[in-house]
């Protein structure tokens, strides 16, 4: 009897969830900029991944055509040592997007877990984590990243990912911590605790779902943030090693004024790729915020 009743409530909830989902999708589709963002992000990602998996040649220099302007053989032209720029922008996009997505997801997960712990337990562990986040925020993030680059010495992709994740968790941490502080006093949390539910169960299964919306939105916009961060770092020459193309690494050539003056295609195409992708991600993030923000519904 009671079994059947809980089932029916669960099914009701499921039904409500699907209709809310449909409503949200309709709402998202009405937002033209958000749809534009989604389409551009999807198309660019697919193009980059397909080129990468298809094994497009981004390494071999075409000695006869160094610094060639865009032509039929090289649609985006070639770079200073004759490598095809279209291939490099595509493969570079693959790395840049991967760095952005990986760091955004990982740093938000880290921030959410630490924030949940700090907000739920409070007391000494909270004070310690807050101090730690303040310490990290005492630096401009780029300078912190540069310092860690100096400490780790080698400029590999793995190191860069690690550095971005450990320098990027603070905003999510603060947000999740504050939400947890106010939510842990709610009746439903008290009920779960009274039933003897384990602490991790209460934290991650009961409270965390209520904080997911801002986390999802901040993860989306963080993808753009990390892509820009990687680009800046690679531009000043402290990013991933040169053998790995990223959008920032390709733009590194534009540090040379000769290149800026005579080979516009070397910096215009990767620059356009970054700007368009970041713009699209920002539109997508804004759209998601509008759809998911419960306060507006």
């Amino acid at each position: 009897m009671s079994e059947a009743k809980t089932m029916s409530i669960k099914e009701q909830n499921k039904g409500a969830a699907t209709s809310l989902m449909k409503k949200n999708i309709r709402k998202f589709l009405r937002n033209k900029l958000a749809v534009f963002g989604l389409v551009v992000v999807a198309l660019m990602t697919i193009a980059c991944v397909v080129a990468f998996i298809g094994g497009i040649d981004f390494r071999t220099p075409d000695m006869a055509n160094m610094r060639a302007a865009p032509n039929s053989a090289h649609m985006f032209g070639t770079d200073t040592i004759g490598r095809d720029l279209l291939a490099r922008v595509l493969v570079g996009g693959c790395y840049s997007i991967f760095i952005g997505v990986f760091c955004a997801v990982a740093s938000n997960v880290l921030g959410a877990v630490l924030g949940a712990i700090a907000g739920y337990f409070g007391g000494k562990i909270d004070a310690l984590l807050v101090r730690l986040s303040e310490l990290f925020q005492a630096f401009p993030q780029l300078v912190l990243v540069m310092m860690l680059v100096a400490m780790l010495k080698t400029r590999g992709l793995g190191n860069l990912l690690l550095i971005f994740v450990i320098t990027g968790w603070m905003t999510t941490f603060r947000m999740v911590r504050n939400e947890f502080m106010s939510l842990k006093g709610e009746t439903y949390v008290k009920v779960c605790e009274a039933f003897g539910m384990s602490k991790s169960n209460v934290m991650f299964k009961q409270i965390l779902p209520n904080v997911m919306t801002p986390i999802i939105v901040s993860t989306t916009t963080n993808v753009a943030y990390f892509i820009l961060q990687e680009a800046s770092l690679s531009f000043i020459g402290l990013g991933v090693a040169d053998s790995t193309p990223t959008w920032g690494n390709i733009l590194n050539a534009a540090k040379n004024l000769q290149v800026v003056q005579n080979q516009w295609w070397i910096w215009v195409f990767p620059g356009l790729a970054i700007s368009l992708f970041v713009l699209a991600i920002n539109f997508l993030g804004d759209g998601l915020r509008d759809v998911l923000d419960a306060k507006q519904q």
Binding site: E134, L135, Q137, A138, F139, P140, Q141, L142, V143, M146, M147, V149, A150, M151, K153, A224, L228, A231, S232, F235, I236, G237, L238, L251, A254, K255, L257, V260, Q261, W264, W267, G271, I274, S275, L276, V278, L279, N282
Partner: protein, 319 residues
């Protein structure tokens, strides 16, 4: 009030100590030999046989924590050590730090004036032409990497038009120091300003809109106060407090941005010094420049707190 300021000032000291400790230990753990930056290279070259004795007399065989204490003491007495190429770091910092401060200060000033100006006009003439252009620029300004804006400006103003120099801070053949400074600062300051304005004007617009929709503005209007006075005296003054706080909060982004922009314009500031030091593994310089930037940041956040307390009497001073 004085007590509050004093307390905030005192709280900066442990923070700086922790930061310097972490940075020192972190960089020492990379295995750089500190004898290179404690002693002038000439001295090392003069006594190749006595290095070990020198090491002992300098206390390099002491535990790390003792060495850290000594390094900190030197630092406080103004002895910043030597860079790996032998220049005293104090000298480098003394010439380059002012350049960076100059760059950031101008960018801050102009972005405040322009950002707040555009923000207010777009709030007053909502959905007007300025509002529309402002919104497009804000979206673009957050999508285009700042260094790319710098490259574009170099391409347009330095290469195509030839109005401004593309690099450096001082020309060797400059006749008028003021004009020379203006010419070299214009493009980097403009680059940083564009980035800041994109953020600031949105805040200024939104807070101004909030204020303009509030009841006391309606009251002021119904009393027959002229429109311009309503905007300036009643609207502007109340809308500016949150905007000024945001302006202060953007300082870290400004300093981070100027590190990159200095590379774009080969501008000889503290940021490019740090970048080059990292690339060439010049740890003593990395150590000092990082600390300087952290200290600048702490001072700025201290100013935010004090400023906030001054502007808003509701901030509890005992907190």
């Amino acid at each position: 009030m004085l007590k509050y300021i004093l307390k905030k000032l005192l709280m900066m000291i442990p923070m700086l100590l922790i930061i310097s400790f972490i940075v020192y230990m972190g960089l020492r753990s990379t295995g750089v030999d500190p004898i290179n930056f404690l002693v002038s290279p000439d001295v090392i070259a003069a006594n190749p046989d006595n290095i070990e004795a020198l090491r002992e007399s300098l206390g390099l065989n002491d535990p790390l924590i003792v060495q850290y204490g000594r390094w900190l003491g030197d630092l406080l007495r103004g002895n910043l050590g030597y860079s790996l190429d032998g220049t005293p770091i104090l000298q480098t910092v003394a010439t380059r730090l002012p350049y960076t401060l100059e760059l950031s200060a101008y960018a801050m000033l102009f972005s405040a004036v322009i950002g707040i100006g555009i923000g207010i006009i777009s709030a007053i003439r909502q959905n007007g032409i300025v509002d529309y252009i402002g919104r497009v620029l804000a979206v673009l300004g957050q999508a285009v990497p700042q260094f790319l804006v710098g490259i574009l400006l170099i391409w347009i103003f330095a290469i195509k038009l030839g109005w401004f120099p593309a690099a450096n801070r001082v020309s060797p053949d400059a006749t008028n120091a003021f004009v020379d400074a203006f010419m070299h600062l214009f493009l980097p300051v403009l680059t940083l300003t564009i980035g800041m304005v994109a953020v600031l004007m949105r805040y200024a617009r939104n807070t101004m809109l909030d204020v303009l929709n509030s009841d006391y503005i309606k009251t002021a209007r119904s009393k027959g106060i002229p429109e311009w006075k309503v905007y300036l005296k009643h609207g502007f003054r109340n809308a500016m407090k949150p905007v000024l706080v945001i302006l202060m909060f953007r300082i870290p982004a400004l300093i981070g941005g100027s590190v990159v922009i200095e590379t774009v314009f080969s501008y000889p500031g503290i940021g490019i010094t740090m970048t080059n030091a990292i690339t060439s593994g010049d740890y003593p310089v990395v150590l000092v420049t990082t600390l300087i930037i952290a200290a600048t940041m702490l001072i700025c956040s201290f100013m935010v707190d004090v400023f906030n307390a001054l502007l808003d009497p509701r901030v509890r001073l005992d907190g």
